[in-house]
Amino acid sequence: MFNRQGIKQQQVKVGGKQLTIIQAPRPQRTSQVATVWGALCSLWNGMRVTWRYFSRPSSIVTQQYPENREHLKIPERFRAQLRLKYDENGEHNCTGCKICDVQCPNASIEVIDMRGESGKKEIDRFVWRMDICTFCNICVMVCPFDALEMSNEFESSVYDKRLLTYQLNRYAGPTKKAFEKIESSADRERLKVGRQPFEAPTPLGIAAGVASGPGVSVAPPSTMKKDDI
């Protein structure tokens, strides 16, 4: 270890503030013999450090990624994918209020709303473009209905960046709270207009805002599959 004996602490006053400073020591050698001997010792000490790790295979920190999937721990807060939160009935909280859309710094969220049966605003499509998302978590933070979350599924690499446009809502229609007021399950199912998540090349216009706004219908890209590429 580098000799810390000669290091002195000192009180100085700079700009009216009292502070303690430590002066950096200089590497010093006294005589030729000491220099040679000290140099050899320092080299040997360094070699001992590397030898210590070489001789202890337990110090290896490499994790072999695809093999360690089972015990790979991803912290629950890790931000890998934006998701709508669904409850056990498959219902979400999103009202289509567009706060996340407005707050998103790089326009990677496009919320398309519609008038529902009750006349209230409802979510039609929640389009999220992962390819331009910076995972800043602002959308999750600002959501007043706690409808969004960042999930841990980090393995989302694809060969075509157009595949990185996701539609997050599985159905278009009322929120979880609105559904609670509806008694009959038939009505509930009727109100849920199916929306499949995009899993094929997506027309970029949806997310870029060309076809945004209520009433603008976008053909569901269900005719195209991943194999078409």
Partner: protein, 386 residues
């Protein structure tokens, strides 16, 4: 008064003059933008005489992403996430700098819990940044193993921060008005375990590199930056302190809870690469000390003082606030006009200002000296270019 605007190609291809037979031929070499020792896309045009450097011309802009222009269309909360991408090794300090500027402009007070967590987590990241720097310094000087040791220990902090902030590099954790999340319950025990783990490792760092005679010879009296030059060239942080000026914003203009913790400021005597090296090693120790003092004393309170989606209206006026990141003082200038989008947002990046001393210190040295100088300046090029 003449205003002659030249181009780089004119400088690199000067008009030919008749050489006297004794003079050696000077030639230009491009070090970068793709060069292993420039840590990114810095391009240094070197005018060389054999192995000796006669002139250094830094050429920037290879990773200029016009963050300042983008910030003119974004409000405070959104600007914060851009700053992650400037100095990505002290993303939290960058977040804090913008948040603090916005808070100051808006007159928002934050509670002690927020300030303590911010201080704590920024100190952790300072250690993390210096660990990476240490590893990369070894790499630059030819000792590849230190690179892996540095990254191995950095990973420990990255894991701790990832658990709390949800990201490993671009954290976007410190927000105007508070924090994005509260501390993770595992944070305190893991930080304690880390300090216990890292102190012996730090001694090992010193054995492996600091003590090594080759490293000492590579760094000692190389790239001497005098105090006047350091001030004149706008150097801050460890580079300025290595030149013998004990200027640390954490002491001079305490923010966070730095006024409640004890720590010393490591200061160099000569201003050479060795001083810059040693100061960063010592700063890691001091930062560990700060973390030790704070880790058991995190007060209770809210972690966010504002509504998450609150409009961040900047009053008319200019605000310039500084934060000591791992590389020096990061200044954030905000010009408000009463809107939530600033009229002008400017970042005084520490790396940009630290970089230019290389034009002075590297002259007369060898290429290997330049590598050592650039390495001890600890440049992060995305922060230089913004």
């Amino acid at each position: 008064m003449s205003l002659e605007i030249r181009t780089l190609s004119e400088i690199m291809n000067p008009p030919q003059t008749a050489d006297s037979p004794l003079s050696t031929q000077e030639y230009f070499v491009n070090m970068g933008p793709q060069h292993p020792a420039t840590h990114g896309v810095l391009r240094l045009v070197l005018k060389m005489d054999g192995e000796t450097i006669r002139e250094v011309i830094p050429v920037l802009g290879y990773i200029h992403r016009s963050i300042e222009k983008m910030a003119e269309y974004l409000h405070g909360r959104q600007i914060v996430h851009l700053t992650d991408r400037m100095d990505y090794l002290s993303a939290l300090a960058n977040n804090w700098a913008v948040s603090r500027a916005v808070e100051t402009a808006m007159g928002v007070q934050t509670n002690p819990r927020i300030e303590t967590i911010r201080t704590l987590i920024c100190e952790l990241q300072r250690v993390q940044s210096h660990q990476l720097w240490w590893g990369v310094l070894g790499l630059d000087l030819g000792a590849l193993t230190s690179f892996f040791y540095g990254f191995r220990d950095r990973e420990e902090i990255t894991d701790i921060l990832e658990e709390t902030t949800g990201a490993r590099l671009t954290m976007n954790y410190i927000q105007p008005g508070g924090l994005m999340f509260d501390l993770h319950p595992n944070f305190v025990p893991r930080v304690k375990a880390f300090i216990k783990y890292f102190r012996p490792k730090l001694d090992e760092y010193e054995t492996l590199l600091s003590e090594n005679v080759i490293l000492q010879e590579r760094l000692r009296n190389v790239g001497v930056l005098s105090a006047e030059d350091a001030i004149g060239y706008g150097a801050t942080g460890p580079v300025l302190r290595a030149s013998g000026i004990p200027l640390d914003l954490r002491k001079q203009q305490p923010y966070g809870v730095y006024d409640q913790v004890e720590f010393s400021v490591p200061v160099g005597t000569v201003g050479d690469c060795w001083d810059r090296y040693w100061i960063r090693i010592e700063e890691m120790r001091q930062s560990l000390g700060i973390i030790e003092q704070l880790i058991d004393n995190i007060p209770d309170g809210k972690f966010m003082e504002m509504k998450p989606a609150a409009k961040l209206k900047l009053p008319a006026g200019s605000f310039y606030l500084q934060i000591e990141t791992a590389r020096g003082s990061l200044g954030v200038f905000l010009q408000g006009t009463g809107e939530d989008i600033p009229h002008r947002c400017h970042f005084r990046s520490p790396n940009f200002n630290n970089l230019w001393s290389v034009t002075k210190t590297a002259v007369g040295g060898k290429i290997a000296d330049l590598v050592a100088i650039v390495s001890t300046l600890d440049l992060v090029i995305p922060d230089v270019d913004r």
